[in-house]
């Protein structure tokens, strides 16, 4: 099952290594990681998408992450109301003759053209991973030269139906 785990961590050298090492050691496969600064100086936010066999492994991942001294807070937000986004850049082969066709195609996705050259276009799209996936599939017949995806970044919506799960929520 696919889980989205977010955490805030101290922005120190080696922290990412500490965390990914933990995943490697325990054979947990990471689908994507995104990292960036938060509103607080010295604190970064990470979003992990992982595929695990069952609930127990997800729980163990969170507990192990919590044990890291540089990890301030961990939440599994999969089952909450969340905003999840990914950004992708897609370089597509596009002779001038078919550019118009591509414009029409990407328009419903609210994607934009961010670079044009003689025989290719670079399209930028943001949204949930499924949307990004769908657009890439649509563009594939035209000849995709390169794709760069950021992986999912996410957090919970301001309004939740249930209380969000907190650190060590499984235990206490």
């Amino acid at each position: 099952m696919r889980r989205i785990i977010t955490m805030t961590v101290n922005n120190r050298p080696g922290v990412l290594n500490r965390i990914t090492g933990l995943f490697t050691k325990r054979h947990y496969n990471i689908e994507s990681i995104t990292v960036g600064h938060t509103e607080i100086d010295g604190i970064s936010r990470m979003t992990f998408v992982v595929n695990v066999d069952d609930e127990r492994i997800a729980e163990q991942i969170i507990k192990q992450l919590n044990k890291q001294i540089d990890v301030l807070k961990v939440s599994d937000i999969t089952d909450q109301a969340i905003v999840a986004r990914e950004l992708a850049l897609v370089k597509v082969a596009a002779a001038p003759a078919i550019r118009q066709e591509i414009y029409t195609l990407i328009e419903p996705f609210r994607a934009s053209i961010v670079d044009v050259s003689k025989d290719s276009l670079v399209i930028q799209v943001t949204g949930e991973p499924e949307k990004v996936e769908a657009l890439i599939e649509l563009l594939r017949p035209y000849g995709i030269k390169e794709v760069a995806r950021t992986g999912t970044t996410a957090f919970t919506r301001g309004a939740q139906k249930a209380a969000p799960s907190q650190k060590t929520a499984f235990i206490i």
């Binding site: 933990l22 192990q64 044990k67 001294i69 206490i172």
Partner: protein, 577 residues
């Protein structure tokens, strides 16, 4: 008094070198002994040590230093402190760090590092120590700037000794040790991401009390967490109050008196029949400070199949990791046990259960066949037990001798047992004995080792001789890597691939070469004689016992089997014949 405080405060604001800061910090932490080995990257530090006159033990290998620090930590309850140089010095402590991590021993380890200006350039004696040790430390640091040093040292001691103890490493580049900065050690540790839960949740405790009152066949599985929390008295009080029998993990031995009627023995691969059957048949399993290691549980499919599982552990990640847990209690063992005692729930009705366990204990004791003209290793341990009145600190390596020591030396009180449990480190016992002896100078320390493991760290005899530590080194010499040989006999059709060492060196001469008496015995009568001689000597002695070489450790739960499928169990009726 007040004047002293002002003076102290003034001192804490002084400007000084990184090396001196480290010495001052160690003094502030009341560090009595440092185990270490100098080298290029830590020369400024050693120069400062020289001037400060701090008690430093120069082991003959860094592995010896870190195992000694583990022995010291195990017995004293205080963090063991280690210094190693960069590169090879640091990589030599990797085994000890892993060992301490697995067995939750508090260590603060300082490694030298090449100067910040050349880090990453593959400089002479450079190794990425922080990268290497990340998965085998509770936490680690590299000091990039002198201004961070006091804070980092303070945090390291805090992290190593609180919550679930463990090793913390600080990598210090050479230029940081020579740089100058302000030494302010009078600061609070502020780690928002590290807040161990030490007090139990009342609701969960109540659930456990309720479960106990309804239980007919409860059992306590007590691990080293009881010892780390200094909770042996509480464990005994609780078990007696509720009439619940107790089994121990290998590392927990001594947490509950071995001669207590409620004690069932050690559980697991080489545990007693009664302890293992109790785990199999129980309806309520109360795990206190044990991590359900596979050597204790056997095949998880058959582990405590009829039981409701309660788990008290200071590390939340241990709860539910291996065994699904119904009643999770994140807490220090002492605090949880105290609350359980205070709540005085209705005791379980265990009369029938205890009668059954007593019957098993009587019918299926640990046994070995006595034999004339040779030394039975089990008998050897019994003799040591009797000679020391069960009061000695026993350290071991890993393997057959370790299991016999765990089975036949009865630990009636805490902190007498130092062994490498989780990692199973050959070569641990001898250096660990050095640390244990330094932690308790008046104790009789017996280091029981195999002929294989002894040869991995025997250079530390030099330290024992130099400091005249009255350690009795007992080599259980079966001219083999005994446990490997046993497994090959049982599971590899007696193909003894590289496990037999018929040509061992003359260990008695080796002892003499190191300047200590060496004694040898080949029969039980000789063994009794040399043991008596050895314990009469007020100094180090090495004893080489040529034991029955093909002896196996029984009973045994074969790998992949459940605890109820033990082999090598005999009823006492069969034994007397």
């Amino acid at each position: 008094m007040a004047k002293m405080k002002v003076e102290e405060q003034a001192k804490t604001k002084e400007r000084m070198s990184g090396s001196l800061m480290l010495i001052e910090a160690l003094k502030a932490e009341n560090v009595e002994v440092i185990f270490g080995y100098p080298g290029g990257a830590v020369l400024p530090l050693y120069d400062e040590l020289y001037k400060a006159g701090v008690f430093h033990v120069l082991t003959r290998h860094e592995q010896g230093a870190i195992h000694a620090a583990e022995g010291y930590a195990r017995i004293s309850g205080k963090p063991g402190v280690v210094i190693a140089t960069s590169g090879p010095g640091a990589t030599n402590i990797v085994t000890g760090l892993t060992d301490a991590m697995m067995d939750s021993l508090p260590l603060v380890v300082f490694t030298g590092q090449v100067a910040t200006s050349v880090i990453g350039s593959d400089a002479f004696q450079e190794a990425d120590v922080v990268g290497i040790t990340m998965p085998i430390t509770k936490h680690n640091y590299q000091v990039r700037d002198i201004s961070e040093l006091p804070k980092i040292i303070k945090e390291a001691f805090h992290i190593a000794t609180t919550g679930r103890p463990g090793p913390v490493l600080i990598d210090i580049p050479k230029d940081v040790t020579t740089a100058e900065g302000e030494f302010d050690y009078d600061q609070d540790v502020h780690l928002p991401g590290y807040q161990p839960t030490t007090q139990p949740n009342h609701w969960q405790i109540r659930r456990l009390v309720e479960a106990v009152s309804q239980s007919k066949r409860p059992v306590i599985l007590a691990g080293a967490g009881v010892l780390h929390a200094n909770a042996a008295d509480e464990l005994r009080q609780y078990a007696e109050q509720q009439n619940i029998p107790v089994v121990h993990t290998l590392l927990g031995l001594g947490g509950f008196p071995a001669d207590h009627p409620l004690f069932l023995g050690m559980a697991g691969m080489h545990g007693t029949y009664t302890a293992n059957m109790a785990l199999y048949e129980c309806d309520l399993l109360i795990n206190i400070g044990a991590r359900f290691d596979d050597r204790v549980t056997g095949n998880l499919k058959y582990f405590a199949p009829k039981a409701t599982v309660a788990h008290i552990d200071i590390d939340p990640a241990e709860i539910g990791k291996n065994v699904p847990t119904k009643i999770p209690i994140v807490s220090d063992a002492k605090a949880a046990l105290q609350e359980l005692i205070d709540q005085q729930g209705k005791p379980a009705d265990t009369a029938a259960w205890l009668a059954q366990l007593d019957e098993w204990k009587r019918r299926f004791p640990l046994y070995y066949e006595p034999e004339e003209g040779t030394i039975k290793p089990q008998k050897l341990i019994e003799m040591i037990y009797e000679l020391t009145g069960g009061e000695a600190i026993v350290t071991t390596d890993v393997g057959q001798h370790q299991m016999w020591a765990a089975q036949y030396y009865k630990f009636n009180r805490p902190n007498r047992w130092v062994t490498s449990g989780g990692l199973g480190t050959m070569g641990f016992g001898l250096p660990a004995a050095i640390g244990a002896q330094l932690a308790d100078r008046s104790a009789t320390v017996v280091s029981i080792v195999g002929d294989g493991g002894f040869q991995m760290t025997f250079q530390e005899l030099s330290v024992i001789q130099e400091l005249q530590l009255p350690i009795k080194v007992v080599i259980v010499n079966n001219q083999a890597l005994g446990m490997v040989r046993q497994w090959q006999e049982l599971f590899y059709d007696k193909r003894y691939s590289h496990s037999l060492i018929p040509n061992q060196p003359d260990f008695v001469k080796l002892a003499e070469a190191y300047g200590m008496p060496g004694l040898r015995a080949k029969t039980e009568a000789e063994a009794a004689e040399v043991l008596k001689q050895a314990f009469a000597i007020d100094g180090p002695v090495l004893l080489d016992f040529h034991v029955r070489a093909d002896e196996n450790v029984y009973p045994m739960v074969a790998p992949g089997k459940g605890l109820h499928e033990m082999v090598g169990v005999k009823a006492c009726e069969e034994l007397s014949q």
